[in-house]
């Protein structure tokens, strides 16, 4: 939207002239519609009529709404330009004093919140001295789908792609990081402390570089008393102690170690390695993912749970549905107490707190203890005969009806669509 204020001299004249027949309408229009108490004056100053503030309530009393509803309405009115949306300022670091290297995990090809926190920590290290800013170098392996590296605080992006980095290839990635170390010699190395990503790669890199890393790092503070100027706080001994030490060159940081970058947009200029990576003989061969029986997956880490409660009439039917859908089975306390399901399958406060992405509750009314257990589930589907129960209120999709019939229809539908592609292939 253009910033130029368009003036309409005739409207301004009507606004000044209280005896004009259109005076009130024009005032109301310019004042944002609800109350004609403020309008831009002829010199660009805001004019305010204190008598016109508020509105007359149902009992004939003047009410003034101070909640800001009128203001908020005015801000979006077409008469005044809306406030410019918060934009990030661009940062370009041409000749950095030093480099902070980060190897984000990129689960699913995108920066996770953990990666963003670690990049925020890297920014903290790089921007400590505003006169000599450092640059954050992100080393990214394989194909990715992330486009917001600049918004996450990356100045230099080294993208290493190739078949060698696909799947589980810690040795190839380690060789690449060693090449980065040789060529860029970053002052700091930061990796996310995750079991199969940065945590493993960082430890491999640390022993290769002969560096004693700061593991499970959760806080850094600038300090003049320690060597290097940064005091690091680490979690040690299975979360029981805090260790304070000087920040070493290589650190593995926990999630929420720092605030992610939110105000700046960095350049994320791509850089390349001059030397080609050496061909390596790998001693670990990735055999690919293994089909896992969903019934054997621990309830706490299952992705898709079908849980049964008091409303399930036929438990054989329930087990058949879980098998057809490929879901892990869960149960409410009542079903476990009645002996239909084993105790380790109980969901809720006295059972397991589940983290499933999709949770289907069959015949579970939703006791508060059960709802606590499914707090972290993203999508909840309820099948219940009582439309007023708590589970239906919690659910994203609730189907009211007899559980047995709906499950039977669901099994039939699943099996039909499973066989359909094969039939189509035969027909073609």
């Amino acid at each position: 939207m253009s910033e130029i204020v368009r003036r309409d001299p005739r409207r301004e004249w009507i606004m000044r002239n209280r005896l004009h027949p259109e005076h009130l309408e024009v005032l109301a229009e310019s004042g944002g519609g609800s109350s004609p108490c403020e309008w831009p004056g002829p010199n660009g100053l805001m004019r305010r009529d204190p008598h016109a503030v508020g509105f007359i309530g149902p009992h004939g009393l003047r009410r003034i709404d101070r909640s800001g509803a009128q203001q908020a309405h005015a801000a979006t009115s077409p008469g005044r330009p809306a406030e410019p949306a918060a934009t990030r300022h661009h940062v370009e670091i041409e000749s950095p004093a030093f480099l902070v290297a980060v190897a984000p995990d990129l689960p699913g090809g995108r920066l996770s919140s953990h990666d963003r926190d670690v990049l925020g920590l890297a920014r903290q290290l790089a921007d400590a001295d505003p006169d000599n800013p450092g640059a954050v170098l992100a080393v990214v392996f394989g194909d990715h789908r992330e486009s917001g590296f600049g918004e996450a605080g990356v100045d230099r992006l080294l993208h290493l792609s190739g078949d060698g980095f696909e799947g589980y290839a810690p040795e190839a990635r380690l060789a690449a990081l060693v090449a980065v170390e040789r060529e860029f010699a970053p002052r700091h190395w930061l990796l996310p402390e995750s079991t199969l990503g940065g945590g493993e790669l960082g430890r491999r890199l640390a022993v290769r570089l002969g560096e004693r890393p700061a593991t499970h790092l959760w806080k850094i503070e600038a300090s003049t008393e320690v060597a290097g100027g940064w005091l690091a706080t680490l979690r040690g001994a299975a979360e029981r102690v805090d260790i304070h030490r000087a920040l070493p060159r290589l650190a593995l940081a926990l999630a929420e170690c720092a605030e992610p970058v939110s105000e700046a947009c960095h350049a994320a200029r791509s850089v390349t390695l001059d030397q080609p990576l050496p061909e390596r003989l790998t001693r670990i061969e990735d055999g690919g993912a293994v089909a896992v029986d969903p019934a054997g997956v621990a309830l706490a880490e299952a992705e898709f749970i079908l849980a049964g409660g008091n409303g399930v009439g036929d438990w054989d039917d329930f087990h058949r549905t879980a098998q057809a859908l490929g879901a892990s089975e869960g149960a409410s306390r009542v079903a476990v107490d009645d002996g239909f399901m084993p105790r380790h399958r109980q969901v809720g406060a006295s059972g397991t707190w589940v983290t499933a992405r999709v949770y289907v509750a069959v015949g579970i009314s939703g006791a508060i203890q059960h709802l606590q257990g499914i707090q972290r589930c993203e999508t909840v589907i309820a099948i219940n005969s009582d439309p007023g129960c708590e589970m239906v209120k919690r659910a994203d999709l609730a189907v009211i009806g007899d559980a047995g019939e709906i499950l039977a229809a669901l099994v039939e539908l699943t099996e039909r669509t499973r066989h359909q592609p094969e039939e189509n292939r035969d027909a073609a």
């Binding site: 491999r204 593991t215 001994a237 029981r240 690919g288 999508t379 709906i406």
Partner: protein, 269 residues
């Protein structure tokens, strides 16, 4: 590689498990470390192996109580490499492993006492020149100098890896739960003492170690122009109700709606 490696290859598979002194998370009593006990369980499950347990540390009441937890799992003896308090056990372990190299070295991924950095298996693997795999959930087969193992991925998924032996394997908490420790075998088991010079860990001695403080919880920051928007965001309920309710639908229609949602979420395979 020592000259008798081929002999041991043709015979029983030589598996060494590194065990440490754990600490109960609530009572802080010494116990067998959870991940190390899982490693022992994995090794006990391998048929036709020669297994030995190695512990490097002090020989006192605490470590005896913890090590008897491993002995009670049916392990005859534990080689105890005696070290002084505050020693860096890496050096002694490397010496011991060089003297009698196993083909598979199992360890937990993180100790329950001390620094707990989880670096020791990597240091051993780097120094001995062996490959290392983390997140071990199961050992499938070991044959012809190659081990086929399953690695634990998030959400209960598994990945199959083939590693050349000798190798270091770090056990994940997703590995099978260890068997119960029995009192009788724990009493009958023996600790065989081995002497190795202990090297003091000077860096660790210089660090400031305190009981863990609770980490500050991150506040939900709302960037809003007006105070009203910030207030609304702060006062908003965490859960916005209002899911779809299919009342008076036939079972087929209900099943179709559920099926469509499951398909959209991508959980049906």
């Amino acid at each position: 590689m020592p000259p008798d490696a081929s002999i041991s290859q043709s015979g029983a598979l030589d598996v060494a498990v590194l065990v440490s002194v754990g600490r109960h998370p609530l009572t802080a009593r010494p116990r067998r470390a959870d991940q190390d006990a899982r490693a022992v369980e994995l090794a006990l499950g391998l048929a036709g192996t020669k297994m030995r347990l190695i512990h490097a540390g002090q020989h006192d009441a605490d470590s005896d109580a913890a090590l008897s937890g491993y002995l009670g799992m049916g392990v005859g003896e534990i080689a105890l490499i005696e070290q002084e308090p505050g020693a860096d056990v890496t050096v002694a372990l490397i010496e011991a492993l060089r003297a009698a190299p196993p083909q598979l070295l199992l360890a937990g991924s993180r100790a329950e006492t001390g620094e707990g950095s989880g670096l020791l298996p990597y240091l051993l693997a780097e120094t001995l020149g062996w490959p290392i795999v983390t997140g071990l959930a199961a050992i499938e087969t070991v044959e012809a100098g190659t081990a086929s193992v399953l690695q634990a991925l998030p959400r209960g998924q598994r990945r199959r890896l083939r590693i050349r032996l000798p190798a270091v394997l770090c056990v994940d908490p997703a590995a099978p739960a260890p068997r119960q420790s029995a009192f009788g075998p724990a009493r009958r088991g023996e600790l065989t003492l081995e002497a190795q010079p202990s090297v003091a860990d000077t860096a660790w001695a210089g660090w400031d170690v305190q009981p863990a403080r609770p980490r500050p919880r991150r506040l939900k920051l709302v960037k809003a122009a007006s105070a009203r928007d910030r207030f609304k965001a702060a006062a908003a309920k965490a859960q916005g109700g209002g899911g779809r309710v299919l009342d008076e639908a036939t079972p087929e229609q209900g099943a179709e709606a559920i099926f469509k949602l499951l398909k959209d979420e991508g959980v049906l395979r």
